[in-house]
């Protein structure tokens, strides 16, 4: 399995008050913990369990993911462009790991 790779698609500029669409995806197995390997042993659960989006340091959207979210979780959501600032995207994995991306948004 290759290392999970997060990707986001966000506009770089927006008008003040405009609603922008944010598309995110991360390549990840999302192992449910319900499967068994060839020896009959349970394959331990390893999923992305939380996703957070911060905008200029403030949490503006978050999601708790459970086993029923598909592999390579895709999340699309909408934000209101209020100020120029940094968007931070954080994916938290079972076992304490995490993945992160940043994006600069210019608001005119």
């Amino acid at each position: 399995m290759t290392a999970p790779k997060p990707r986001v698609l966000v506009p770089s500029a927006a008008a003040k008050g405009e609603v922008i669409r944010v598309k995110t995806i991360i390549s990840h197995q999302m192992e449910t913990g319900l499967r068994h390997d060839a020896q009959g042993q349970v394959i331990p659960r390893k999923i992305i369990n939380r996703f957070v989006c911060r905008y200029a340091g403030v949490v503006v959207f978050s999601m708790d993911l459970h086993e029923a979210i598909s592999a390579n979780p895709f999340i699309e959501f909408y934000l209101r462009a209020t100020e120029s600032g940094r968007l931070e995207f954080i994916w938290e994995e079972d076992g304490g790991g995490g993945y992160q991306l940043e994006h600069q948004l210019a608001v005119a």
Partner: protein, 155 residues
């Protein structure tokens, strides 16, 4: 007492009738679900400790039929101005027939995010998918959509 041919036939008939009632045909699953509207509400009451209200402000858009249970698209949109005194705090999504019924929960922030989200989910069998929105005044609004999947996506 020796068993007659008639006794044997009677026993076979009773046995197969019992089997048929124990394993209803898959086609009847939806009909049963329709009459079991209250079951969904009971389930949400058990999970949240609150009685949800069916609402048409929630739009849970999913394909009616989908070939695979691994990646079923789900669009969720709630009619809400998202102002400080009228907004959606959280939406929880459940798949009651999955081995683990909780699917996801989405947290929104008034004036910063819009109560609209899309993702892809796994479904084990054809079933109603339920969305419950927790409003800022504590009200629970609910909607559900039937999705027919051809294969099990939860193995």
């Amino acid at each position: 007492m020796s068993l007659t041919r008639r006794d044997m036939l009677m026993a076979a008939c009773v046995g197969s009738a019992a089997l048929a009632s124990a394993f209803p045909s898959p086609g009847s699953a939806r009909a049963q679900d329709d009459t079991a509207q209250d079951d969904t509400i009971d389930l949400i009451e058990r999970l949240t400790g609150q009685t949800p209200t069916l609402s048409d402000r929630l739009h849970l858009v999913m394909p009616a039929v989908f070939p695979t249970g691994y990646t079923v698209p789900m669009d969720l949109d709630i009619d809400s101005p998202m102002t400080a005194d009228d907004h959606v705090r959280r939406i929880r999504v459940f798949a009651p027939q999955n081995p683990l019924i909780e699917v996801a929960s989405f947290n929104f922030v008034p004036q910063r995010s819009i109560a609209r989200v899309s993702t892809r989910i796994r479904l084990a069998k054809p079933q109603y998918v339920v969305a419950v929105a927790e409003m800022n005044d504590g009200m629970l609004l609910m909607t559900k959509t039937f999705v027919d999947v051809a294969t099990n996506g939860c193995i």
